[in-house]
Symmetry: C2
Subunit: 320 residues, 2 copies
């Protein structure tokens, strides 16, 4: 096996760090879903994770490995979504000051949640300012540590504990379906799943409007696309990660796509039949399962539900 | 202890019958909820139960004890809600024909779900016909067994497995808060909880508009009230059950009430912070917790979330 930025041992170590800190989210089963798909399906409900998404796992795993000096100088992240809340919560739990760079037009609920976890928020104008530059300036000025959303070994290893737990709880799987934006969750889960159950077919799922993974895998190099227009706000990345791409390329069976309508269908299914609140991005893997993008008949299938952070008005509109 | 219609052994036997059939629903924790209440809270998420509510437990436990002749003649139930779906699903799993008497104005989604589980549906006009009489006629005509929604030892014992599992998974509790309509869940949980952890304070919760339990406990006899006007459609019973009342009177610390606005608040909290879909009735115990109707500070507290069957339009309106 080629040497990746992350090993299975890193994921096992992350699991130890997260024990008693992160929720061990349930592996949910549904006879209705099994009947509909002809498979035995286990849903890893990371919408029930602390701060409502798997992002907490990577953020905590990263911050827990900072030394005393680094902790004292604080952390910086830029994100308008779940990564912001993950870093903010992990920082609070570890007694580290966190500064989150967010666009001034971020949803009020996300600003409030991030502030609620005790983070300092620095707002920027999306049209005229570059968030990476603002974050870099903060890092330079304060000596703070920048916490990237996915292209970081500790973030990937933390995310990989999602699949580790699922396979421990559900037993061996034939197929694992994981949503992918930057690829942190997908690459981490692929590392964990293929180490635990060699031969497992791991699939990524991305919005059809933002198929940078599909294009990149087809061309065997990282392709950059315009910012995709999709309701899956957590999957609007423009290119696979530098660290995540080689892992996915080597270990995954493929990446498939779903449309916004299919994401809505999966959210409605989760509402009606599973009684779970899933955000659009978090429904991508379930949508791929329901739309039969992956051959699962007669197989044992793991599906990640990556998050549930969606405001009431948006949710009401999408499940209507 | 006085002799009740149900014993702890009945609940333990029900748990054995339900093993591998009912979902062992998770005991969900939330740091946000703990911080807000000053307690250590464990939510028994029966909205994640098969058919979306705890009602499956009692229905299956009742039907599984029918003999071959009774099974061959089928079962009858009257209900416009979760009991109908519970009986329909349990009957299907056991290969028993089920007939459900439902009002002609029942929500299309509930009719479809009940039909989807393979039950025959007999519709009646709510204004002019008596559902109990219709059901009795079916029972007489077919020799079928009537399955009551709560006032039945096997139904109560099945419901009691909810508390049994919660205490097994969460550990000993100081307080248990349970919603109550007819009292099947409350009496069963009170039996299980007080047997496992003597000294536990078990509270019932009902809508303030339908406080038949509060009135009945105050007068020490079963009081009948008009059909209450509340969004908690599963808690619109008019009087405590004949079997459930003496159990609750003897074993519970009290019954408290919540308003419809407080139910909405709990549903919104569950949506925003827990990512769970809860129906109005299912949010009663959580509402009582959030509104501090019960003294929980510094304690280990169990809270039942009894169901999640609510249609999209209603849910959207209630969480708005």
């Amino acid at each position: 096996m080629p040497a990746f930025a992350v090993s299975f041992d890193d994921i096992a170590a992350a699991a130890t760090r997260l024990r008693g800190i992160a929720h061990r989210t349930p592996a949910i089963t549904s006879a209705t879903l099994d009947a509909r798909t002809g498979a035995r399906v286990f849903l890893k409900a990371e919408n029930l994770q602390r701060m409502g998404a798997f992002k907490f796992r990577g953020a905590y795993n990263r911050l827990a490995q900072l030394d005393a000096g680094e902790r004292a100088r604080g952390v910086v992240a830029f994100s308008s979504g779940n990564h912001a809340q993950g870093v903010a919560l992990a920082a609070r739990l570890l007694g580290i000051a966190a500064t989150i760079v967010m666009p001034s037009d971020a949803p009020a609920a996300k600003l409030a949640a991030t502030r609620g976890y005790g983070a300092e928020i620095v707002l920027y104008e999306r049209a005229t300012m570059n968030r990476a530059e603002i974050a870099s300036a903060l890092v330079a000025e304060r000596g703070a540590t920048l916490v990237p959303p996915y292209d970081d070994p500790a973030i990937i290893a933390g995310a990989g504990t999602t699949a580790l737990e699922l396979i421990e709880d559900a037993g061996p799987l034939d197929v694992l379906i994981v949503c992918t934006g930057g690829g942190g969750l997908l690459s981490g889960c692929a590392l964990a799943a293929t180490a635990l159950t060699p031969g497992i077919a791991v699939y990524g799922v991305e919005p059809v409007a933002g198929d940078d993974w599909v294009q990149s895998l087809a061309r065997n190099e990282r392709v950059t696309i315009p910012i995709p227009a999709t309701i899956a706000d957590g999957l609007q990345t423009q290119t696979p990660g530098e660290l995540t791409f080689p892992i996915v390329r080597a270990l995954c069976a493929g990446v498939v796509t779903v449309s916004d309508d299919e994401l809505r269908l999966a959210m409605r299914f989760a509402f009606e039949r599973l009684k779970l609140v899933i955000e659009p991005s978090g429904a991508a893997a379930l949508a791929a399962l329901l739309m039969e993008r992956v051959d699962v008949r007669g197989k044992r299938v793991g599906v990640t539900i990556s998050g549930g952070n969606v405001d009431a008005a948006t949710f009401a509109r999408l499940i209507a």
